[in-house]
Symmetry: D3
Amino acid sequence: MAAEFSHLDSQNQPGMVDVGAKNSTTREAKAQSIVYLGADLIQHFEAAGWQNKKGSILQTAIIAGTMAAKRTGDLIPLCHPLGLDACTFDMDVQAEEIIITCTCRLHAKTGVEMEALVGASVAALTIYDMCKSVSKGLVIRETKLLSKSGGKSDFQA
Amino acid sequence: MAAEFSHLDSQNQPGMVDVGAKNSTTREAKAQSIVYLGADLIQHFEAAGWQNKKGSILQTAIIAGTMAAKRTGDLIPLCHPLGLDACTFDMDVQAEEIIITCTCRLHAKTGVEMEALVGASVAALTIYDMCKSVSKGLVIRETKLLSKSGGKSDFQA
Amino acid sequence: MAAEFSHLDSQNQPGMVDVGAKNSTTREAKAQSIVYLGADLIQHFEAAGWQNKKGSILQTAIIAGTMAAKRTGDLIPLCHPLGLDACTFDMDVQAEEIIITCTCRLHAKTGVEMEALVGASVAALTIYDMCKSVSKGLVIRETKLLSKSGGKSDFQA
Amino acid sequence: MAAEFSHLDSQNQPGMVDVGAKNSTTREAKAQSIVYLGADLIQHFEAAGWQNKKGSILQTAIIAGTMAAKRTGDLIPLCHPLGLDACTFDMDVQAEEIIITCTCRLHAKTGVEMEALVGASVAALTIYDMCKSVSKGLVIRETKLLSKSGGKSDFQA
Amino acid sequence: MAAEFSHLDSQNQPGMVDVGAKNSTTREAKAQSIVYLGADLIQHFEAAGWQNKKGSILQTAIIAGTMAAKRTGDLIPLCHPLGLDACTFDMDVQAEEIIITCTCRLHAKTGVEMEALVGASVAALTIYDMCKSVSKGLVIRETKLLSKSGGKSDFQA
Amino acid sequence: MAAEFSHLDSQNQPGMVDVGAKNSTTREAKAQSIVYLGADLIQHFEAAGWQNKKGSILQTAIIAGTMAAKRTGDLIPLCHPLGLDACTFDMDVQAEEIIITCTCRLHAKTGVEMEALVGASVAALTIYDMCKSVSKGLVIRETKLLSKSGGKSDFQA
């Protein structure tokens, strides 16, 4: 950890990391965000086919998450502007919560962890938006990276 | 809760809620997001004045969160496009985590909960981005609404 | 028609129309876009519940159209940047085509025709995108304003 | 056509198509959008050098279309975020209508049909915006793909 | 000047100024940006009707400036997200330079100086982009506020 | 200079330059923008550690400039949409002014001059925004390209 600080800019000014000299490889990252709704709300929405007055909750969340993942470089100040070869979502409805998994993939010089995290987070926020009129007890919890591969060091949570 | 479902569109299609008939009032919402870094990392960054090689971690997060809060209607599909009269952040550094609080205020026909939640979430994701090269153990947890006022029903967590 | 040309800027330079002196009234506009798919394709998608490998065709189109309507001032150079109180879609599936109707409403100094037209057009383009791998014969036709009210002169197609 | 449905996601959830395994080739797409103005309006604008009180109609439309084509991945939910090597417009003024042709080109793993269609559509919407104060009879018709090359299967309308 | 520093946030963290308690008034701001091209280049473009291989230089600059002025809150981190009632440009071609004046107007709680400055700057950058293949000696100079009115204190340069 | 005009489009319509046939090389561009604050203001902010009531002036400017450089293709109509491998800023505080230098780098078919110029300009505008409540005498001057390399012809101011 300490080694990192030797890279400190002498002026301590913010700046994008230079990735010009890195090789392009196939990068993949998988991130998770969990939205707690509570057992009552989950049962209600299951019964309604995950529809509410604003529309299809899960599908709207996936679309919002996909669109946000594509705009990661626009939201996170020091992320590189990247494309995406693939961005997919898995929505796992549990007894009290929904587990959102977002997987991003790209052949690039830098990783797509932030893309996966932004995708999962905005999908979670969209579920929050679509359910908030029905309950005040919603909580988004455990947004984290599950795995990444293709870079200097792979990672598996 | 059940009452809500009587509003279901006959086609179950998504759609923005019509707020045309609502009165403009001063709306405020406060949301929180907690980023877990662990005691070691917190101590390291405290020692470095919350600077790393990408720059000032907390200030970058606040700016990113503010800019994202302003673009909430662009990120969350069925949110109304709104302005903001104020958007402020409080960063409370604890022993193992940072508690981000984002407060948004606007005189409008609908609430600014999502603006506060988006602001807190993107600030949290920016901290994640700026610390991820140093540790793989970061987790964003407990993103939730703390309070809202000015609408049909006030709320306090 | 001719009267309009007396307003020509002496330099013929582009410019937003000044709406500062206009009164805010409740403006509504309804626009339509028709996507021709052909009878075979309509039957196939009906059988599949309007799902394809990219997901739910109609819902994705409605979400894309809503998000684009909110960004009209960002897309059409001389449109005023406006909010929206409401934006709703109706998707009418006919034997050979889908008739998309987008209705926008806002209390403002200028009309929301372009918002409704952009919403309907981007919904149509999204249907095109989601069906283009299955057929090359798609055509978007008859994008037009159906009605507008609340301004200097109401209109009904 | 039927073969396509074997790709249906088991959950019927929306998702970007994975293009990671595809080869980069030079892709070109040409799309067309026709704006009907009517003979009287065409003559008026011809006489005025295609200027109105908002400025130069055709040039503004081309710029708007170019800027929108660049943002296709931002507007169409499941389009890949792509760059563009070239984006050009041809504006063919006929007796009663303007035929807009937008040509996009890129060396990429997936095609640029949607870029060309978005470019042509937003150029058409911009003409609509700039002429709508003069006539209520405007219609955008026949937005379609004219040709594409460089992918798995070429196409010529 | 010194009085200002009493407002310093105790944590020195960035934040939007709260304008919630301010009155809405009609705000106007006028800003200027000057692009130096040199006498030779000015004469060449005058002879060519301000057209180059990328198109009409002045019109493209005005459209770009207008679109950027509308997005000021998106570009400048702590600016409030505002609409605009009017945004107009004047392009004054001198012997060696072009003087761009951008005027913005809005009924709002805060001023539109930054909108006018962003509009003038992006128009200047667009002229730079459209002329840079012909000369390396371009300089954008003297971007400044000319006047503002409607707020706490009017200003005239 | 004259040779350039032989490329004039026969219709004088705007259009992106086609870069499809160009080779990808490592492009670098360095641009400068100077913000004049005056000796009094510079001393005040030096004494306050470049903090004002909106936060850290220099850091906010760098972040805004970085985010704007990433969106150059979105702001300048005929710029190609590009990524960025690196974007760094140097803030040189002089007796009466701040000299902002923005350096951008990318392996691409076309240069990144506009990215560097947009980055420096938006950083300058952000300093203006953060200091404008304290002084009306601010001027952004001398925004220009310092150097570029990697393209057909290198340049050094």
